[in-house]
Assembly symmetry: C2
């Protein structure tokens, strides 16, 4: 066995390592699906700063404390801090230049549709306006997507959607398996459009949908059975009837919006 490596304990420094840093277990740390924040210090800090920016703790245009102060007051290294800032910058939320410092950009430049940002957003109980905006966007894109899907879907797509639908009927949205099947249904539907841009957009929106689902469950709003609505969309797509698919999808989303608003009024 080797002894503690004879070399040198350089500054005598605190022998921490990084065992259990306060930041790691800091917030609720919304652990939705592949949230890769798992324990990385820079990720945790990016989360924290991101949420603070979204909440308005740091306003647009405001300069946040410099690297040295921030990192030391948070008790982390500059590198970890800088990596966190890089993440925020990649999402358009901050901008840093020498001498000026790092400042929060104007809200219009934030990538609100970034899945991660959307996740952060929902950890702050977003405003009704924002939820409304999101539903409006869904109401624009998803019916159109359903239309395209009806024209372009393959047999494999139909089989996959049929399967997801069966699981949903069996499990309901109360179980994780049921919700997963729901997501899978929508994902295949969008995939059937053969449109990469739509796929990318809706994978963002998926985060939002997942949240509203949980939101409704939390406020245990008596949500109607979603299967019949989905069934109608499916039938239209299987039949290749674009305009029917569009119409059914629109009504499906309107129902979801109604339920969500009902839950909000709780």
């Amino acid at each position: 066995m080797k002894k503690p490596s004879a070399t040198l304990p350089p500054t005598e420094g605190r022998l921490k390592g990084s065992a259990a840093h306060p930041l790691r277990s800091d917030p609720t740390l919304s652990q939705t699906p592949p949230y890769q924040n798992q324990g990385r210090l820079h990720g945790a800090l990016a989360y924290r700063l991101g949420v603070d920016i979204l909440k308005g703790v740091y306003q647009s245009g405001e300069t946040l404390p410099n690297e040295i102060d921030s990192s030391s007051s948070l008790d982390i290294s500059r590198s970890a801090y800088r990596e966190a800032i890089r993440i925020l910058a990649a999402k358009g939320m901050v901008e840093s230049r020498p001498k000026t410092g790092t400042r929060v950009t104007e809200r219009a430049r934030w990538n609100l549709l970034d899945p991660e940002v959307l996740g952060w957003m929902f950890d702050t109980e977003p405003s009704q306006d924002f939820i409304k905006a999101l539903f409006e966007l869904r109401l624009i894109t998803e019916p159109a997507a359903a239309d395209l899907a009806a024209q372009r879907r393959t047999d494999a797509d139909i089989a996959s959607m049929r399967n997801s639908l069966d699981i949903m009927a069996r499990e309901t949205l109360q179980t994780e398996a049921g919700r997963k099947a729901d997501r899978e249904f929508h994902r295949t539907l969008i995939g059937a459009t053969q449109n990469e841009a739509l796929v990318s957009l809706s994978s963002s929106i998926e985060a939002a949908v997942a949240w509203t689902t949980r939101y409704k469950a939390r406020h245990n709003a008596l949500t109607r059975d979603p299967v019949p609505d989905h069934e109608r969309v499916f039938d239209a797509i299987a039949a290749g009837d674009g305009s029917a698919a569009r119409w059914c999808m629109e009504s499906l989303i309107r129902m979801a919006l109604q339920d969500t608003q009902k839950a909000a009024a709780h």
Copy 2:
């Protein structure tokens, strides 16, 4: 004044600093509007890796060389390299875990609608399929946005759009001022929807539009005068006629698509 800090010149190391690194001036470095890549090493590397991933030099699932090898072979520090990776990770393009290394995620998880990613995409002469997908998305969202804008626009919105339109008519799309007015026109239009999610989405798409504009100019396709089309959209919105605005916007985009395809056939 203090002398060079008596301590120790640790390893005698190369006295480089970072005067003029090859990466900085490496590629064409698409300097579109507020591209904040300006000279930052990590930004330049992120750009390079990002483009390589989009081009397929690094395939999905592939593990790229480890930090030590990469940074040393690129002749940059590990910190700079890591910050670059953090940027890519924030855009969903890579995922890094201890022992496994950093690997390229599956294409469906890339944030293709991130303005920066979109910019990278266009530096690689994107596939016809992708351009088509993008126009399809515009065809879905922008007419709907025009509809909403017609219902919600304020007097200030109208004034701003009128002004942009005048500048466009005077300058044409050949001058930068003209193109800027074009962008401004669309931006105010989207802003008039009062929908944050739409704003965020279209600020992404703006990058794409800017590219196709340059693309058409490059292949000097005889593009028709865009002002009459814009004028019609404007009139409909000013009149508060949603469905007319929708229809005019749709035809405007179809024209742009036609021109782009004509340029592609060159």
